[in-house]
């Protein structure tokens, strides 16, 4: 028998593999933002001068560049996470649920997404489940923006 080797560059062979590896990488940037926020909170806690120093550091080109890259990865992370949740939790409507495989379009890319829920004989596509998560994200973001800006 011949064992087919897995090439080191397997993740470049398909777009979906590449997106997957990028999503795995994105967790580093999620951690980066968590640390960034924590450092900010500490800086605020230590008073005006320290906060100002933090802000100066945060405005330096290198940090801004890192944050832009990190934001891109965070967006990818969020998008793929939403698709995943649609997979993991079938939604029960009217006391019964029907699982079905559907495809959703996220950022112009066809991605697998499950959970078509049947309501009165009609199927609500997974894209709508995902859309509702975005709606939730918008609501939460708006609330936080209101808290910060008011």
């Amino acid at each position: 028998m011949y064992r087919q080797p897995v090439s080191r560059l397997w993740w470049l062979k398909k777009r979906t593999y590449f997106v997957f590896v990028m999503r795995e990488l994105s967790c580093i940037f999620v951690a980066w933002f968590a640390v960034f926020l924590m450092v900010m909170v500490f800086a605020i806690g230590r008073g005006e001068a320290s906060y100002q120093r933090f802000m100066d550091w945060a405005a330096s080109p290198v940090v801004v560049a890192i944050n832009i890259v990190a934001l891109a990865f965070l967006v990818l992370h969020t998008m793929t996470w939403f698709v995943l949740t649609a997979h993991a939790t079938p939604i029960r409507v009217g006391g019964r649920r029907v699982l079905a495989m559907r495809e959703a379009r996220v950022a112009g890319r066809i991605v697998p997404a499950a959970t078509a829920v049947r309501v009165g004989g009609r199927q609500v596509p997974a894209a709508m489940v995902i859309a509702s998560q975005y709606a939730g994200l918008v609501v939460v973001s708006a609330f936080i923006a209101w808290l910060v800006l008011r």
Partner: protein
């Protein structure tokens, strides 16, 4: 439309060949011909030693899976005209050892499948004489999608994790575990979870999602795995929070 298409087919004979080679064949390009018909043409008219598996020609038996232009496909359901003008590359399914030409060895899956106990498990001793277990159409609908698996192994060929970590139990096996878990007649959830909660079980999966994309029967193994992860996580939390007796 051109009247022929070139097929680039992997050839390998253990013994004489140390590595697989590629052979080229020109086959008639007909509107109603699948890749499998092209292979049959080669076998009947050009080289009768070409080896590959097939049986039903209608997407039911699951034996004709191969990589067509790098994508795992049922060759009986993949049309040559979709690859015109060609050439079209036909290889054995990736991630499996090659036995000969396009035939792969799926022994690994055959060994893994019974581990998830894909049959109805009962804790009572009801016999046929006592009557059948009834099930409503709604209860059937709960698991029907997962019961459509034809063991074609396209999902294993598409899964990079299985390629890198051959111990991973894999998409179809987990989808079949879910099929029985969701069956209203079954009581075996606990036993299956014990197997799948291990590292080689659902946690091997990092949700690439390709298994669901390539599945010809819309089984959605990726969805089954994510749901199983939820079950496993819940179980781990319970073990952590509750004393054994209360579980």
């Amino acid at each position: 439309m051109a009247d022929s298409i070139r097929m680039q087919v992997t050839r390998y004979t253990p013994g004489p060949d140390s590595v697989p080679t590629v052979a080229e064949y020109d086959v008639p390009l007909r509107k109603d011909w699948a890749v499998l018909d092209g292979l049959n043409y080669i076998k009947d008219h050009v080289d009768s030693s070409l080896s590959y598996r097939w049986s039903c020609r209608m997407g039911i038996c699951g034996s004709c899976g191969m990589n067509v232009e790098g994508e795992p496909k049922l060759t009986c359901a993949t049309f040559l005209t979709d690859y015109a003008p060609g050439p079209v590359r036909v290889e054995p399914l990736s991630n499996f050892p090659i036995v000969r030409d396009l035939v792969v060895d799926i022994e690994d899956f055959m060994e893994k499948l019974p581990r998830v106990k894909p049959w109805i498990i009962r804790d009572d001793d009801v016999t046929v004489i006592d009557g059948e277990y009834l099930q409503t159409p709604e209860e059937l609908a709960e698991y029907k999608q997962f019961s459509n698996c034809i063991n074609c192994m396209l999902c294993y060929a598409a899964c990079p994790i299985y390629g890198l970590e051959p111990d991973f139990i894999g998409p179809a096996a987990i989808a079949l575990a879910e099929r029985y878990d969701l069956d209203s007649r079954d009581r075996g959830q606990r036993e299956r979870l014990d197997v799948l909660i291990e590292k080689e079980g659902v946690w091997g999966c990092t949700f690439v999602g390709e298994c669901t994309t390539v599945c010809p029967k819309h089984v959605d193994p990726a969805g089954a795995i994510q749901r199983y992860k939820l079950k496993a996580a819940k179980e781990n939390l319970m073990t952590f929070l509750l004393p054994r007796a209360a579980r």
